[in-house]
Symmetry: C2
Subunit: 220 residues, 2 copies
Protein backbone atom coordinates (compact mmCIF):
# COMPACT_ATOMS: atom_id res chain seq x y z
CA UNK A 1 0.00 0.00 0.00
CA UNK A 2 2.34 2.63 -1.25
CA UNK A 3 1.65 6.31 -1.45
CA UNK A 4 0.08 7.61 -4.63
CA UNK A 5 2.50 9.05 -7.18
CA UNK A 6 -0.01 11.90 -7.46
CA UNK A 7 0.37 12.88 -3.79
CA UNK A 8 1.56 16.34 -2.82
CA UNK A 9 4.96 16.67 -1.13
CA UNK A 10 5.01 16.19 2.64
CA UNK A 11 5.26 19.95 3.13
CA UNK A 12 2.31 20.64 0.85
CA UNK A 13 0.20 17.93 2.49
CA UNK A 14 0.94 19.40 5.89
CA UNK A 15 -0.19 22.81 4.68
CA UNK A 16 -3.54 21.46 3.50
CA UNK A 17 -4.09 19.61 6.77
CA UNK A 18 -3.01 22.67 8.71
CA UNK A 19 -5.64 24.82 6.97
CA UNK A 20 -8.29 22.18 7.70
CA UNK A 21 -7.27 21.90 11.36
CA UNK A 22 -6.86 25.61 12.12
CA UNK A 23 -9.88 26.99 10.23
CA UNK A 24 -12.37 28.48 12.66
CA UNK A 25 -15.82 30.05 12.45
CA UNK A 26 -14.80 33.55 13.51
CA UNK A 27 -16.95 36.23 15.11
CA UNK A 28 -14.24 38.58 16.42
CA UNK A 29 -12.57 40.88 13.90
CA UNK A 30 -10.19 43.84 13.90
CA UNK A 31 -10.62 46.92 11.75
CA UNK A 32 -8.47 46.70 8.62
CA UNK A 33 -9.37 46.39 4.97
CA UNK A 34 -8.73 43.26 2.93
CA UNK A 35 -6.35 43.50 -0.02
CA UNK A 36 -8.55 43.31 -3.15
CA UNK A 37 -6.20 40.72 -4.68
CA UNK A 38 -6.71 38.45 -1.68
CA UNK A 39 -10.48 38.91 -1.83
CA UNK A 40 -10.35 37.95 -5.49
CA UNK A 41 -8.42 34.77 -4.61
CA UNK A 42 -11.12 33.83 -2.10
CA UNK A 43 -13.86 34.31 -4.69
CA UNK A 44 -11.83 32.23 -7.11
CA UNK A 45 -11.52 29.48 -4.49
CA UNK A 46 -15.31 29.46 -4.14
CA UNK A 47 -15.70 29.23 -7.90
CA UNK A 48 -13.38 26.21 -8.03
CA UNK A 49 -15.67 24.20 -5.77
CA UNK A 50 -17.52 21.18 -7.09
CA UNK A 51 -21.16 21.61 -8.01
CA UNK A 52 -23.82 19.02 -8.72
CA UNK A 53 -24.12 18.54 -12.48
CA UNK A 54 -21.75 21.54 -12.83
CA UNK A 55 -24.75 23.81 -12.18
CA UNK A 56 -22.73 26.40 -10.20
CA UNK A 57 -25.72 27.42 -8.09
CA UNK A 58 -23.84 29.96 -6.01
CA UNK A 59 -24.33 33.72 -6.29
CA UNK A 60 -22.18 36.02 -4.18
CA UNK A 61 -23.40 39.46 -3.20
CA UNK A 62 -20.67 41.70 -1.85
CA UNK A 63 -22.08 44.32 0.51
CA UNK A 64 -20.26 47.62 0.14
CA UNK A 65 -23.15 49.90 1.14
CA UNK A 66 -22.87 50.68 4.85
CA UNK A 67 -26.57 51.35 5.25
CA UNK A 68 -27.28 47.94 3.79
CA UNK A 69 -24.81 46.33 6.15
CA UNK A 70 -26.59 47.91 9.09
CA UNK A 71 -29.92 46.66 7.79
CA UNK A 72 -28.48 43.14 7.53
CA UNK A 73 -27.25 43.42 11.08
CA UNK A 74 -30.73 44.43 12.22
CA UNK A 75 -32.22 41.33 10.57
CA UNK A 76 -29.67 39.09 12.27
CA UNK A 77 -30.22 40.74 15.63
CA UNK A 78 -33.97 40.09 15.35
CA UNK A 79 -33.38 36.42 14.61
CA UNK A 80 -30.87 36.18 17.43
CA UNK A 81 -33.65 37.17 19.85
CA UNK A 82 -36.09 34.70 18.25
CA UNK A 83 -33.55 31.91 18.45
CA UNK A 84 -32.85 32.71 22.09
CA UNK A 85 -36.55 32.41 22.91
CA UNK A 86 -36.81 29.14 21.00
CA UNK A 87 -33.91 27.72 23.00
CA UNK A 88 -35.95 27.83 26.21
CA UNK A 89 -33.83 27.13 29.26
CA UNK A 90 -30.59 28.04 27.48
CA UNK A 91 -31.91 31.46 26.40
CA UNK A 92 -29.78 33.53 28.74
CA UNK A 93 -26.67 31.49 28.05
CA UNK A 94 -27.18 31.85 24.28
CA UNK A 95 -27.58 35.60 24.57
CA UNK A 96 -24.13 35.80 26.17
CA UNK A 97 -22.48 34.32 23.08
CA UNK A 98 -21.07 36.46 20.31
CA UNK A 99 -22.69 34.92 17.26
CA UNK A 100 -21.65 37.29 14.48
CA UNK A 101 -19.20 40.01 13.55
CA UNK A 102 -21.20 41.81 10.87
CA UNK A 103 -20.46 45.31 12.16
CA UNK A 104 -16.75 44.75 12.71
CA UNK A 105 -15.54 42.65 9.80
CA UNK A 106 -13.90 44.07 6.67
CA UNK A 107 -16.26 42.43 4.19
CA UNK A 108 -19.79 41.06 4.28
CA UNK A 109 -20.69 38.65 1.50
CA UNK A 110 -24.14 37.15 1.16
CA UNK A 111 -24.12 33.72 -0.46
CA UNK A 112 -27.31 32.79 -2.22
CA UNK A 113 -28.67 29.88 -4.15
CA UNK A 114 -29.50 30.95 -7.70
CA UNK A 115 -33.03 31.01 -9.08
CA UNK A 116 -34.33 28.72 -11.84
CA UNK A 117 -32.82 25.60 -10.36
CA UNK A 118 -35.65 23.30 -11.42
CA UNK A 119 -34.12 22.72 -14.84
CA UNK A 120 -31.03 21.12 -13.27
CA UNK A 121 -31.89 17.45 -12.82
CA UNK A 122 -28.44 15.81 -12.92
CA UNK A 123 -27.75 14.51 -9.40
CA UNK A 124 -30.86 16.26 -8.07
CA UNK A 125 -33.87 14.24 -9.16
CA UNK A 126 -34.19 12.53 -5.79
CA UNK A 127 -32.01 14.96 -3.80
CA UNK A 128 -32.83 18.51 -4.98
CA UNK A 129 -31.01 19.92 -1.96
CA UNK A 130 -27.67 19.01 -3.55
CA UNK A 131 -27.57 22.60 -4.80
CA UNK A 132 -27.16 23.76 -1.22
CA UNK A 133 -24.44 21.17 -0.75
CA UNK A 134 -22.58 22.75 -3.67
CA UNK A 135 -22.86 26.20 -2.12
CA UNK A 136 -21.51 24.82 1.16
CA UNK A 137 -18.51 23.31 -0.64
CA UNK A 138 -17.76 26.72 -2.14
CA UNK A 139 -17.97 28.35 1.27
CA UNK A 140 -15.67 25.72 2.77
CA UNK A 141 -13.12 26.47 0.02
CA UNK A 142 -13.29 30.15 0.93
CA UNK A 143 -12.91 29.32 4.61
CA UNK A 144 -9.75 27.30 4.03
CA UNK A 145 -8.30 29.88 1.65
CA UNK A 146 -9.04 32.57 4.26
CA UNK A 147 -7.15 30.53 6.85
CA UNK A 148 -4.16 30.27 4.51
CA UNK A 149 -4.30 34.06 4.03
CA UNK A 150 -4.45 34.63 7.80
CA UNK A 151 -7.99 36.03 7.61
CA UNK A 152 -11.03 35.05 9.63
CA UNK A 153 -14.41 34.07 8.25
CA UNK A 154 -17.73 33.43 9.93
CA UNK A 155 -20.89 31.86 8.50
CA UNK A 156 -23.98 33.50 9.96
CA UNK A 157 -27.28 31.66 9.38
CA UNK A 158 -29.31 33.60 11.94
CA UNK A 159 -31.69 35.42 9.60
CA UNK A 160 -35.03 35.16 7.90
CA UNK A 161 -34.17 34.26 4.29
CA UNK A 162 -37.29 35.95 2.89
CA UNK A 163 -36.50 39.23 4.60
CA UNK A 164 -32.88 39.13 3.50
CA UNK A 165 -33.97 38.27 -0.04
CA UNK A 166 -36.24 41.31 -0.07
CA UNK A 167 -33.48 43.57 1.21
CA UNK A 168 -31.08 42.53 -1.59
CA UNK A 169 -33.63 42.18 -4.41
CA UNK A 170 -32.97 38.44 -4.55
CA UNK A 171 -35.61 37.06 -6.92
CA UNK A 172 -38.20 34.41 -6.16
CA UNK A 173 -36.75 30.94 -6.48
CA UNK A 174 -33.32 32.08 -5.28
CA UNK A 175 -32.50 31.88 -1.56
CA UNK A 176 -29.77 33.44 0.57
CA UNK A 177 -28.13 30.79 2.78
CA UNK A 178 -25.16 32.52 4.37
CA UNK A 179 -24.03 35.90 5.56
CA UNK A 180 -20.25 35.59 5.43
CA UNK A 181 -18.20 37.87 7.65
CA UNK A 182 -14.63 38.15 6.44
CA UNK A 183 -11.79 40.14 7.88
CA UNK A 184 -8.56 40.51 9.75
CA UNK A 185 -8.45 39.03 13.22
CA UNK A 186 -6.18 39.23 16.26
CA UNK A 187 -5.98 35.44 16.63
CA UNK A 188 -7.82 32.25 15.74
CA UNK A 189 -9.78 30.47 18.44
CA UNK A 190 -7.77 27.49 19.64
CA UNK A 191 -10.93 25.39 19.64
CA UNK A 192 -14.32 26.06 18.06
CA UNK A 193 -15.67 29.08 19.93
CA UNK A 194 -18.82 27.22 21.00
CA UNK A 195 -16.59 24.62 22.62
CA UNK A 196 -14.39 27.23 24.31
CA UNK A 197 -17.52 28.91 25.66
CA UNK A 198 -18.84 25.57 26.91
CA UNK A 199 -21.91 25.72 24.71
CA UNK A 200 -21.31 22.20 23.51
CA UNK A 201 -18.48 19.66 23.41
CA UNK A 202 -17.55 17.77 20.30
CA UNK A 203 -18.21 14.07 19.95
CA UNK A 204 -15.09 12.05 19.19
CA UNK A 205 -14.58 10.92 15.60
CA UNK A 206 -14.85 7.20 16.32
CA UNK A 207 -18.46 7.60 17.47
CA UNK A 208 -19.40 9.03 14.07
CA UNK A 209 -18.00 6.21 11.89
CA UNK A 210 -20.01 3.04 11.35
CA UNK A 211 -19.34 -0.06 9.28
CA UNK A 212 -21.85 -1.38 6.73
CA UNK A 213 -24.90 -0.32 8.70
CA UNK A 214 -26.04 2.32 11.13
CA UNK A 215 -25.04 1.67 14.72
CA UNK A 216 -26.97 3.19 17.55
CA UNK A 217 -24.78 4.72 20.27
CA UNK A 218 -23.26 1.94 22.38
CA UNK A 219 -24.66 -0.77 20.14
CA UNK A 220 -22.26 -3.66 19.50
CA UNK B 1 -3.24 46.82 3.27
CA UNK B 2 -0.51 44.54 4.44
CA UNK B 3 -0.68 40.81 4.66
CA UNK B 4 -1.96 39.29 7.86
CA UNK B 5 0.72 38.20 10.34
CA UNK B 6 -1.37 35.03 10.67
CA UNK B 7 -0.96 34.12 7.00
CA UNK B 8 0.68 30.86 5.98
CA UNK B 9 4.04 30.99 4.20
CA UNK B 10 3.91 31.46 0.44
CA UNK B 11 4.69 27.79 -0.08
CA UNK B 12 1.90 26.69 2.29
CA UNK B 13 -0.60 29.09 0.71
CA UNK B 14 0.24 27.73 -2.70
CA UNK B 15 -0.37 24.18 -1.47
CA UNK B 16 -3.85 25.07 -0.19
CA UNK B 17 -4.75 26.81 -3.44
CA UNK B 18 -3.30 23.92 -5.42
CA UNK B 19 -5.56 21.43 -3.62
CA UNK B 20 -8.56 23.68 -4.27
CA UNK B 21 -7.71 24.09 -7.96
CA UNK B 22 -6.80 20.48 -8.74
CA UNK B 23 -9.54 18.67 -6.78
CA UNK B 24 -11.88 16.84 -9.13
CA UNK B 25 -15.06 14.82 -8.81
CA UNK B 26 -13.59 11.48 -9.92
CA UNK B 27 -15.40 8.54 -11.46
CA UNK B 28 -12.41 6.59 -12.84
CA UNK B 29 -10.37 4.55 -10.38
CA UNK B 30 -7.61 1.95 -10.45
CA UNK B 31 -7.55 -1.15 -8.28
CA UNK B 32 -5.36 -0.63 -5.22
CA UNK B 33 -6.19 -0.45 -1.54
CA UNK B 34 -5.94 2.74 0.49
CA UNK B 35 -3.46 2.86 3.35
CA UNK B 36 -5.57 2.74 6.55
CA UNK B 37 -3.58 5.63 8.01
CA UNK B 38 -4.47 7.80 5.03
CA UNK B 39 -8.14 6.82 5.29
CA UNK B 40 -8.03 7.80 8.94
CA UNK B 41 -6.59 11.21 8.02
CA UNK B 42 -9.47 11.76 5.59
CA UNK B 43 -12.05 10.91 8.26
CA UNK B 44 -10.25 13.25 10.63
CA UNK B 45 -10.40 16.02 8.01
CA UNK B 46 -14.17 15.51 7.76
CA UNK B 47 -14.47 15.69 11.52
CA UNK B 48 -12.58 19.00 11.59
CA UNK B 49 -15.21 20.66 9.41
CA UNK B 50 -17.42 23.41 10.78
CA UNK B 51 -20.94 22.46 11.81
CA UNK B 52 -23.91 24.65 12.60
CA UNK B 53 -24.18 25.09 16.38
CA UNK B 54 -21.40 22.46 16.63
CA UNK B 55 -24.07 19.80 16.08
CA UNK B 56 -21.77 17.51 14.03
CA UNK B 57 -24.66 16.08 12.02
CA UNK B 58 -22.48 13.81 9.88
CA UNK B 59 -22.44 10.03 10.16
CA UNK B 60 -20.04 8.06 7.98
CA UNK B 61 -20.80 4.48 7.03
CA UNK B 62 -17.83 2.63 5.61
CA UNK B 63 -18.93 -0.15 3.27
CA UNK B 64 -16.65 -3.17 3.59
CA UNK B 65 -19.21 -5.86 2.66
CA UNK B 66 -18.94 -6.57 -1.05
CA UNK B 67 -22.53 -7.76 -1.34
CA UNK B 68 -23.67 -4.49 0.14
CA UNK B 69 -21.49 -2.54 -2.29
CA UNK B 70 -23.12 -4.37 -5.18
CA UNK B 71 -26.57 -3.61 -3.77
CA UNK B 72 -25.63 0.09 -3.55
CA UNK B 73 -24.47 -0.02 -7.15
CA UNK B 74 -27.81 -1.51 -8.18
CA UNK B 75 -29.66 1.37 -6.47
CA UNK B 76 -27.50 3.93 -8.25
CA UNK B 77 -27.91 2.22 -11.59
CA UNK B 78 -31.71 2.32 -11.20
CA UNK B 79 -31.61 6.05 -10.47
CA UNK B 80 -29.24 6.65 -13.38
CA UNK B 81 -31.92 5.26 -15.70
CA UNK B 82 -34.65 7.36 -14.03
CA UNK B 83 -32.52 10.48 -14.30
CA UNK B 84 -31.82 9.78 -17.97
CA UNK B 85 -35.56 9.56 -18.66
CA UNK B 86 -36.21 12.77 -16.73
CA UNK B 87 -33.60 14.57 -18.84
CA UNK B 88 -35.69 14.16 -21.97
CA UNK B 89 -33.79 15.15 -25.08
CA UNK B 90 -30.40 14.72 -23.41
CA UNK B 91 -31.20 11.15 -22.30
CA UNK B 92 -28.86 9.36 -24.70
CA UNK B 93 -26.06 11.84 -24.10
CA UNK B 94 -26.41 11.42 -20.32
CA UNK B 95 -26.29 7.64 -20.60
CA UNK B 96 -22.88 7.94 -22.30
CA UNK B 97 -21.37 9.64 -19.26
CA UNK B 98 -19.58 7.73 -16.55
CA UNK B 99 -21.33 9.03 -13.43
CA UNK B 100 -19.89 6.84 -10.67
CA UNK B 101 -17.04 4.48 -9.83
CA UNK B 102 -18.71 2.41 -7.10
CA UNK B 103 -17.51 -0.96 -8.40
CA UNK B 104 -13.93 0.13 -9.06
CA UNK B 105 -12.95 2.39 -6.19
CA UNK B 106 -11.04 1.23 -3.12
CA UNK B 107 -13.53 2.52 -0.56
CA UNK B 108 -17.22 3.38 -0.55
CA UNK B 109 -18.37 5.64 2.26
CA UNK B 110 -21.98 6.66 2.70
CA UNK B 111 -22.39 10.05 4.33
CA UNK B 112 -25.62 10.54 6.18
CA UNK B 113 -27.33 13.23 8.17
CA UNK B 114 -27.90 12.07 11.72
CA UNK B 115 -31.35 11.50 13.21
CA UNK B 116 -32.88 13.60 16.01
CA UNK B 117 -31.86 16.90 14.48
CA UNK B 118 -34.97 18.79 15.64
CA UNK B 119 -33.41 19.58 19.01
CA UNK B 120 -30.63 21.58 17.36
CA UNK B 121 -32.00 25.10 16.95
CA UNK B 122 -28.81 27.19 16.95
CA UNK B 123 -28.41 28.58 13.41
CA UNK B 124 -31.27 26.40 12.16
CA UNK B 125 -34.52 28.00 13.34
CA UNK B 126 -35.16 29.64 9.98
CA UNK B 127 -32.72 27.53 7.93
CA UNK B 128 -33.00 23.91 9.12
CA UNK B 129 -31.10 22.75 6.04
CA UNK B 130 -27.87 24.13 7.54
CA UNK B 131 -27.24 20.59 8.78
CA UNK B 132 -26.78 19.48 5.18
CA UNK B 133 -24.45 22.43 4.64
CA UNK B 134 -22.30 21.14 7.51
CA UNK B 135 -22.15 17.67 5.95
CA UNK B 136 -21.10 19.22 2.64
CA UNK B 137 -18.28 21.15 4.35
CA UNK B 138 -17.04 17.87 5.84
CA UNK B 139 -17.11 16.22 2.42
CA UNK B 140 -15.24 19.15 0.87
CA UNK B 141 -12.54 18.77 3.54
CA UNK B 142 -12.20 15.08 2.62
CA UNK B 143 -12.06 15.96 -1.06
CA UNK B 144 -9.19 18.41 -0.57
CA UNK B 145 -7.34 16.05 1.76
CA UNK B 146 -7.77 13.29 -0.83
CA UNK B 147 -6.24 15.57 -3.48
CA UNK B 148 -3.27 16.24 -1.22
CA UNK B 149 -2.86 12.48 -0.74
CA UNK B 150 -3.04 11.90 -4.49
CA UNK B 151 -6.33 10.00 -4.20
CA UNK B 152 -9.55 10.54 -6.13
CA UNK B 153 -12.98 11.05 -4.65
CA UNK B 154 -16.40 11.20 -6.24
CA UNK B 155 -19.71 12.31 -4.72
CA UNK B 156 -22.59 10.27 -6.09
CA UNK B 157 -26.09 11.63 -5.42
CA UNK B 158 -27.91 9.43 -7.91
CA UNK B 159 -29.93 7.28 -5.51
CA UNK B 160 -33.24 7.08 -3.72
CA UNK B 161 -32.41 8.11 -0.13
CA UNK B 162 -35.22 6.01 1.35
CA UNK B 163 -34.03 2.84 -0.37
CA UNK B 164 -30.41 3.46 0.61
CA UNK B 165 -31.51 4.17 4.18
CA UNK B 166 -33.35 0.86 4.29
CA UNK B 167 -30.33 -1.01 2.92
CA UNK B 168 -28.02 0.37 5.64
CA UNK B 169 -30.52 0.37 8.53
CA UNK B 170 -30.37 4.15 8.66
CA UNK B 171 -33.11 5.16 11.10
CA UNK B 172 -36.07 7.41 10.45
CA UNK B 173 -35.10 11.06 10.72
CA UNK B 174 -31.60 10.40 9.40
CA UNK B 175 -30.93 10.71 5.67
CA UNK B 176 -28.06 9.55 3.45
CA UNK B 177 -26.87 12.38 1.21
CA UNK B 178 -23.72 11.08 -0.48
CA UNK B 179 -22.17 7.88 -1.69
CA UNK B 180 -18.48 8.72 -1.68
CA UNK B 181 -16.19 6.75 -3.97
CA UNK B 182 -12.58 6.97 -2.86
CA UNK B 183 -9.52 5.39 -4.37
CA UNK B 184 -6.33 5.47 -6.34
CA UNK B 185 -6.53 6.96 -9.82
CA UNK B 186 -4.34 7.07 -12.90
CA UNK B 187 -4.68 10.85 -13.28
CA UNK B 188 -6.92 13.75 -12.35
CA UNK B 189 -9.20 15.23 -14.97
CA UNK B 190 -7.63 18.47 -16.22
CA UNK B 191 -11.07 20.10 -16.13
CA UNK B 192 -14.30 18.97 -14.45
CA UNK B 193 -15.26 15.79 -16.27
CA UNK B 194 -18.65 17.18 -17.27
CA UNK B 195 -16.87 20.07 -18.94
CA UNK B 196 -14.37 17.78 -20.70
CA UNK B 197 -17.28 15.68 -21.97
CA UNK B 198 -19.08 18.80 -23.18
CA UNK B 199 -22.04 18.21 -20.89
CA UNK B 200 -21.89 21.79 -19.70
CA UNK B 201 -19.46 24.71 -19.69
CA UNK B 202 -18.71 26.73 -16.59
CA UNK B 203 -19.87 30.31 -16.20
CA UNK B 204 -17.03 32.74 -15.53
CA UNK B 205 -16.58 33.94 -11.97
CA UNK B 206 -17.40 37.58 -12.67
CA UNK B 207 -20.95 36.67 -13.71
CA UNK B 208 -21.58 35.14 -10.29
CA UNK B 209 -20.53 38.12 -8.14
CA UNK B 210 -22.94 41.00 -7.54
CA UNK B 211 -22.65 44.16 -5.48
CA UNK B 212 -25.25 45.13 -2.86
CA UNK B 213 -28.18 43.65 -4.73
CA UNK B 214 -29.01 40.87 -7.14
CA UNK B 215 -28.20 41.63 -10.74
CA UNK B 216 -29.99 39.87 -13.53
CA UNK B 217 -27.70 38.66 -16.32
CA UNK B 218 -26.68 41.64 -18.49
CA UNK B 219 -28.40 44.11 -16.19
CA UNK B 220 -26.47 47.34 -15.61
Amino acid sequence: MSQSHLAFSQLERNAVYRAIAERRDMRHFIAAPIDPLILQRLFQAAWQAPSVGLMQPWRMIRITDHKLRRAIHTLVEAERIETAKALGEREAEFLQLKVEGIKDCAEVIVMSLMDKRESHIFGRRTLPEMDLASVACAIQNMWLAARAEGLGMGWVSLFDPLQLAELLAIPQGACPVAILCLGHIAAYYQQPMLEQENWRQRQPLEELIFENRWQAPNSP
